[in-house]
């Protein structure tokens, strides 16, 4: 690893002002993604601000019947919370489908959202990658692209966001709360956090430099069933090939785009009375493969209606 300086933030306000004042500084909490990338010399921040002990780890009921999840709450803590298990089971199912027990004990809610998008060529420093080095080119277009995106990708980047947790949160219509560098609290839909790659795949979120996620707020659970289903090469501890989160009539897909992908076209077709199969076709009409990832489209065509049906079972 390259040298860096380290500080432990005493307050959230101190953390954001320090981050805004130090070019290239990064927050660290669990560190499971950032330290991995630093060891590989893919990330090389000159300064780390440890936010892991900020008092932002609580889960608390909101006045309208929702749930506020502190950004420092670990994945394990959120998955095990009785309110999440009983009212937002899709979130527990998604979290326990990700990583290993050891990683979930360390990984935080905010860090899970901020993990880098995933592509074998992003990790392979001997190959060109526009995300790692803007303008270098994309080795995945003609390379091993079985895991590449099928929605919202660009010629510059076909990487996918690897989170399971974020897919469930997207389906739940979650809101992200942040503290901006000027010390203002801000809240916006989770769907607006991550960007599609466009020409700047190195920029993955719309957060300002130094802006800190402080919480994710879930609205009251909507009517209808909830279910998360992940398809992968191994039964456990493996990234998803595709995943589906269903919350009532809300559908989010994982491992198919640069961000958790809300299947809005399918949702509106369902709301107009289309069958699940017709609705999924509306969404998949906008999917495009760039080689070995074509199977993801066929996989979703069968998977999404099955997950919708299973989510509804036992609800009526």
């Amino acid at each position: 690893m390259r040298p860096f300086t380290y500080e432990r933030a005493a307050t959230a306000a101190g953390a954001v002002s320090s981050a805004a004042a130090t070019p290239g500084a990064r927050f660290i909490a669990g560190g499971t993604n950032l330290l991995d990338l630093m060891k590989l010399d893919i990330e090389h921040p000159p300064h780390l601000i440890d936010i892991g002990r900020l008092p932002l780890a609580r889960l608390e009921d909101t006045a309208d019947g929702g749930l506020r999840i502190g950004a420092m709450a670990t994945n394990s803590q959120v998955a095990a919370d009785v309110r999440v298990r009983s009212r937002y089971r899709v979130l527990t199912q998604a979290i326990v489908a990700g990583g290993s027990g050891q990683l979930r004990n360390k990984a935080t809610t905010g860090g899970n959202l901020m993990q880098r998008t995933r592509c074998a060529y992003f990790y392979d420093t001997t190959k060109p990658c526009n995300k790692r080095q803007p303008g270098a080119g994309c080795a995945a277009l003609e390379g091993l692209n079985r895991n590449s995106a099928i929605f919202g990708a660009s010629r510059a980047c076909v990487a996918t966001h690897p989170s399971d947790m974020a897919v469930a949160m997207a389906a739940l219509d979650a809101t992200v709360e942040t503290l901006t560098p000027s010390g203002q609290a801000r809240a916006f839909p989770l769907a607006e956090l991550h960007r599609s790659p466009g020409e700047t795949p190195d920029v993955e979120t719309d957060l300002a430099r130094g802006e800190l996620i402080t919480a994710v707020v879930l609205p009251p659970p909507p009517a209808g069933g909830q279910l998360y289903r992940k398809v992968r090469d191994r039964a456990s501890y493996s990234a998803g090939l595709v995943s589906v989160a269903v919350v009532g009539g809300q559908i989010a897909l994982g491992a198919v785009a640069h961000k958790p992908w809300r299947a809005e076209r399918a949702e509106s077709a369902l709301a107009r009375g289309s069958t699940a199969e017709e609705a999924i076709d509306k969404e998949l009409a906008h999917a495009s493969a760039n080689g070995q990832n074509a199977f993801k489209i066929d996989l979703l065509r069968g998977l999404i209606p099955a997950v919708l049906a299973e989510a509804q079972r036992g609800v009526q």
Binding site: Y6, G31, L48, A80, R85, S100, G101, Q102
Partner: protein, 168 residues
């Protein structure tokens, strides 16, 4: 920079570069070489230790992040002349061949059993609101962060299960 951690009950203050990884501090500075470095990227689980009673990959954590924390390594689990029940079970059930992954397996198993006692769910948990039944599928799923290249998995499951069944 100075960091104080309590390792196996003993307070230790280290003056180390900020880059120092917890695993390397344990092995190279404190000479506690029971904890193993396998992949060094959080994929194999050989480096698993307990921090404040919770299992983590010590290869993906900075020493500096653990100031004031209590770390338990395999050296703190039992002594050669006084093995812990889980260690005796690994010997009895022949739950290893080369032994390289074993310290991580044992620390992970201890953390995992505590998680089960606290009723944490896994992806094998069908009833998310009821008590956990530690089936073999549950046990395998919960230990999936620890690889064994000798593939002693059936014996590892048997060793952990024997400790669960012997518990009062």
């Amino acid at each position: 920079m100075k960091t104080t951690i309590t390792v196996n009950g003993q307070a230790r203050t280290l003056d180390a570069d900020p880059r120092t990884i917890l695993l390397d501090a344990l092995r190279e500075t404190l000479r506690l070489t029971g904890t193993k470095k396998g992949c060094d990227h959080g994929q194999c689980g050989a480096c698993t230790v307990l921090v404040n009673g919770v299992r983590i990959n010590s290869c993906l954590s900075l020493l500096a992040m653990h100031d004031g924390d209590e770390v338990t390594t395999i050296e703190g689990v039992g002594a050669l002349d006084n093995l812990a029940p889980i260690q005796k079970a690994f010997l009895r059930e022949d739950a290893f061949q080369c032994g390289y992954c074993t310290p991580g397996q044992i620390c992970s198993a201890l953390g995992m059993l505590k998680e089960v006692a606290e009723n944490w769910p896994s992806q094998e948990t069908v009833d998310l609101t009821g008590p956990i039944r530690l089936t073999d599928n549950e046990l395998r799923e919960r230990m999936s962060g620890n690889l064994c290249r000798c593939s002693a998995y059936p014996q590892i499951v048997a060793a952990i299960r024997s400790v669960v069944e012997a518990a009062p």
